[in-house]
Symmetry: C2
Subunit: 139 residues, 2 copies
Amino acid sequence: MDFSIGDMSRQTGVKIPTIRYYEKEGLLAAPVRSEGNQRRYGEADLDRLGFIKHARDLGLPMAAIRKLLELSEHPDRLCTDANRIANEQLAAVRQRISHLKKLESELARIATSCDGSHQVADCSILKAFGDHGQCAGEH
Amino acid sequence: MDFSIGDMSRQTGVKIPTIRYYEKEGLLAAPVRSEGNQRRYGEADLDRLGFIKHARDLGLPMAAIRKLLELSEHPDRLCTDANRIANEQLAAVRQRISHLKKLESELARIATSCDGSHQVADCSILKAFGDHGQCAGEH
DNA sequence: CTTGAAGCTCTAGTCGCTATAGATTGTAGA
DNA sequence: TCTACAATCTATAGCGACTAGAGCTTCAAG
């Protein structure tokens, strides 16, 4: 009927110190305690932690998750904010992808310019890291 | 002939507190000081800071940069290590890209499932964040 | 010589955890 | 019931790579 912090961790994949951290940060309510002062959680806590885990895996910062959790406590409101948060996060992920792709192509150029068999003095890798001029674009 | 910390910052795009931080961390040597205790840099420092900036922009962690800088001080050695560092970094970037692409498709699905015009109680965004079961794969 | 920009040091804060230490509690087997 | 050992507790510090702020001093142009 109720779970220890270890049960919560196993069920959600969130590590134990992280669960305590979420409690300290107010994402999870402080649960009831056993006689010996150990945390005892219920189903609702488990669901909430699962929500947090999934959102974190999707890259949402804790502030965004906090907002979504607040929202979900007001089922009568419009979900404009939830929609905005999801779209902002999507835009951020897309931007990160396009940035990383630029880096990928540049790193690939740098890495293949050297087979590791010669001396540092002539190494095109070290030259390339030092000299932005060879890069295709800005970064 | 020599530069203030502000000159260094303008020339490389590295912010002033960050330059001092790099010095504290040993990536930059402590430069000579003016009579009034202000930092005075030379061309070599400028080049070195430019190297660090470029490498950071490419996503290399400070530890890797430290290694490359050490390497460049031994021009007689083989550049095996430089090659390895570049390839490791490339692999890391590629992995991050593929991870982000998974997140992108999932977030896109979540974001388009809601136009923001209805009530939170029925919001598929909040449901989707709470339920991993709808996702295509692991993450 | 004055004034305002630029520099100095030091501390603390950011984000999202993770690690460690040392003490206490819960639980299963003998 | 006793014992052993796993699990949990609190509190603190560390990670990476900066960033911000306070309160002071120095530099350089007019």
